[in-house]
């Protein structure tokens, strides 16, 4: 009897695994990692990015110039300036921590910087270097999905098979998206605009990549 229950359980698990994973209404079928070429939003060749930024945070509105520089120790030096040149904050964002080099008194809150550090990592981390990744394909379109187990949080990177540039990233916990990042590209496939929205917090970021032209 015991062996019958165990066998049934194993069969059930097998059948469930064959049906593929489900996320956000999509059915995904596992495919090989080699079958997809994929590029991070800002590859290693780009060291410093300047954004025109708009931040809506708990009914407050901040605009300014966001500068992110990849440092040699792989930290992300992140500075927000007002258009008039006043520095609002200066952070060094690392994989699992961050250092506040400077913040004006009005915004010097740890919970706020926890979220900002999380957002900067989401945009700039090359998760392909993470080994705990899985690739899936939508069975109705050429939409591809990269699922990453990032220290207990699931990250979903959306892109199309013929365009290996990230279209959207979702950070989810218990199957519910918490952060949604969408990316718009220029004709030359250079990231132009990024929109980031926190579902559980009243925070939205609009970032426009500035070029030196």
């Amino acid at each position: 009897m015991k062996s019958l229950v165990l066998s049934s359980f194993i069969i059930c698990i097998f059948l469930l695994s064959c049906t593929g994973s489900k996320y956000s209404g999509y059915e995904f079928i596992p495919i090989s990692k080699e079958a997809v070429s994929y590029k991070p939003i800002f590859p290693d060749s780009i060291q410093t990015v300047k954004f025109k930024s708009e931040i809506n945070i708990y009914k407050n509105y901040l605009t300014g110039l966001l500068i992110v520089k990849k440092e040699s120790d792989s930290s992300l030096h992140t500075i927000l300036l007002t258009e008039m040149g006043i520095k609002l904050f200066d952070l060094n964002v690392k994989n699992n921590s961050y250092i506040i080099n400077f913040a004006i008194e009005q915004i010097n809150r740890q919970d706020l910087f926890d979220l900002i550090a999380q957002d900067v990592r989401l945009i700039f981390t090359d998760y392909l270097k993470n080994n705990r990744i899985e690739l899936f394909a939508d069975n109705k379109s050429d939409l591809r999905l990269l699922r990453i187990n990032n220290f207990g949080t699931w990250l979903y990177h959306y892109f199309y098979a013929d365009k290996p540039f990230i279209k959207k990233i979702e950070s989810a916990s218990s199957g519910n998206p918490q952060i949604e990042l969408t990316i718009e590209y220029s004709k030359d496939s250079i990231p132009e605009k990024l929109y980031l929205k926190h579902r559980d917090f009243d925070i939205e970021l609009g970032l426009e990549v500035l070029t030196d032209d």
């Binding site: 509105y61 110039l65 500068i67 007002t82 006043i86 009005q106 500035l210």
Partner: protein, 214 residues
Amino acid sequence: MIIRKALISILFLMFLTLGLSAQTNQFKDMKDIEGFKKKFEAISKTIVTIQSSFSQEKNLSVISEVVKSKGKFYFKKENLLRWQYDKPYSYVIVFNGDNILIKDSKKSKVLNTQSNDMFRKIAEIMSMSLQGNVLNSKEFKIAFFENESQFLLKLFPQNKNMASFLKTINMHISKKDYSVVKLELAEPSGDYTKIEFIDRKVNETISDEKFSIK
């Protein structure tokens, strides 16, 4: 090895001293501070409007390049101020009494200066700088210098909050017409912003629409 280190230290100190003396040669203590104050205030009282182009450079130690922007500013007595950035992107900030309008190419937003301390301080600094009221302000301790063509006012914020993001403001004033030609805003970190004013026009009519917050 010790001698070599000592020699390097002495050479470094010599260069440092040369640099410092070059700086002090450029600007010396102002001889007639009271005379300057009287004239600066008298000229400022005659100013009703100012419009000018400006170029702004932000020097950040973290990135090797300088962040540059350009635009125009408009000022109308008593407290109407419009900063208009044209490059690298369109951005307008209008200070009108207790209200601030922030406008970019897509949308605009009205804020209240009373609820935004930093914006209020920026508006006050700019208005005071342009009207000459800065000389009477208790917000700053001022040191006075001059060279052949300019006066230099070094403003040291006395307010703890302001001092946390601004170490000094260097205000360069032309000896020719007592106009502010350059502002340098230095941060405690050593990063600084330089704003140079060009093509300045005084007391020419500026439409009130420029300062509208609607």
